[in-house]
Amino acid sequence: MSLVWVYAVQEAGAGEAPDMSGVDGERPRVVGTEELAAVVGTVADDGFDEAGLAAAMEDLGRIEMLVRAHHGVVAATAQDRTVAPVRLATVFRDDDAVTAMLRQRHDDIRAALDRVRGRREWGVKVYVDGTAAPPPAPDAGAASTGDRPGTAYLLRRRADRDRGAEAREDARAVAERVAGTAAACAVDVRRFAPQDARLSGRTQEMVLNATFLVDREREDEFRDTVSRSGDGAVVEVTGPWPPFSFAAAEES
């Protein structure tokens, strides 16, 4: 017994599946109707049925593997055609069920393809120094350390807080400027929470983490203007990503 994992949907005749391994080590393939097609993979029912997927959701190592493989196939497919990425863990009994779905969801899929046609997703992150660890306030401390240690502590705390608030305000201004510049060259945007510094591998603090849907003709402009808009802050542009964040019809 086997099941069918769906990676992405595309127009019929858009192309073959990429030559690579999928979530179960399988070779992806294409199934479809006259109008639409899905890039799918045949996966073992053991591991991809209800129980298997439920177990996978509890296993972060397995999730990482699934996420990377799913993303890899979608990204490779998206290189030379318009695709709508399908959400992780979309699994059907067999190919007939997939083609039935393509007919039933025809209008939604068309709309999703139209939304991302000729466009790709680009990530933009901004990092700044200084908001993470405000330096101690020597004057406030020195002024009153002698006989009022408690007061000194509170004064120091307040000074730190004020400086921290200022730094955050500055960081926010930089982030909004970069986001505004990027949005002007893009057709849509989604924001993510900034990533923890220990995961980004940088010492600076991330103050913007957003992703933009950009027309291919404007990608050069997007990357150039966005990269320059940091004014001292580090701006990181990643991509192109397949349009995962924009395939579903939702507003940010």
Binding site: E50, M57, L60, V67, Q79, A132, G150
Partner: protein, 133 residues
């Protein structure tokens, strides 16, 4: 038509080594975990499990300290964020108990400091009473 200037493998160059520019797992998780067109498949995935996983990973990505408080420390075992062996069921049980509280906590934090929370600053502001009398 060429791409926007980022070196991309040519069409013939697809391989299992295919990479987009960033292979940072956090970047990929943000985009892939609960994104993409939603299609109800034949295999029903427990929505609560997915939601839980998503919350867990979002917390981890946004705040390593918060994640560590909940006993999630898989990034420490492996630079690529792979999980080590651990009792995820126990972890999830504890997590379920705390989701509401943490979400409320997080909303409050976002309200007070929109661009960045205190994750990388001193995490817990001292709550000491005034000690001088």
């Amino acid at each position: 038509m060429t791409s926007g200037g980022i070196p991309m493998p040519g069409r013939g160059a697809r391989s299992p080594e295919h990479r987009v520019e960033s292979t940072n797992l956090a970047d990929i998780l943000e985009r892939v975990l609960d994104k993409g067109i939603v299609i109800a498949g034949d295999i029903r995935v427990n929505l609560l499990d997915i939601e839980l996983l998503t919350i867990k990973i979002r917390l981890l990505v946004a705040s390593v300290d918060k994640a560590r408080e909940m006993g999630i420390d898989w990034w420490e075992h492996d630079p690529s964020l792979s999980s080590g062996e651990r009792d995820v069921h126990e972890e999830n049980r504890r997590l379920r108990q705390r989701i509401g509280e943490l979400e409320a906590d997080r909303t409050a934090e976002l309200d007070e400091a929109p661009p960045r929370k205190r994750a990388a600053t001193k995490r817990r502001a001292p709550q000491q009473q005034e000690s001088d009398g």
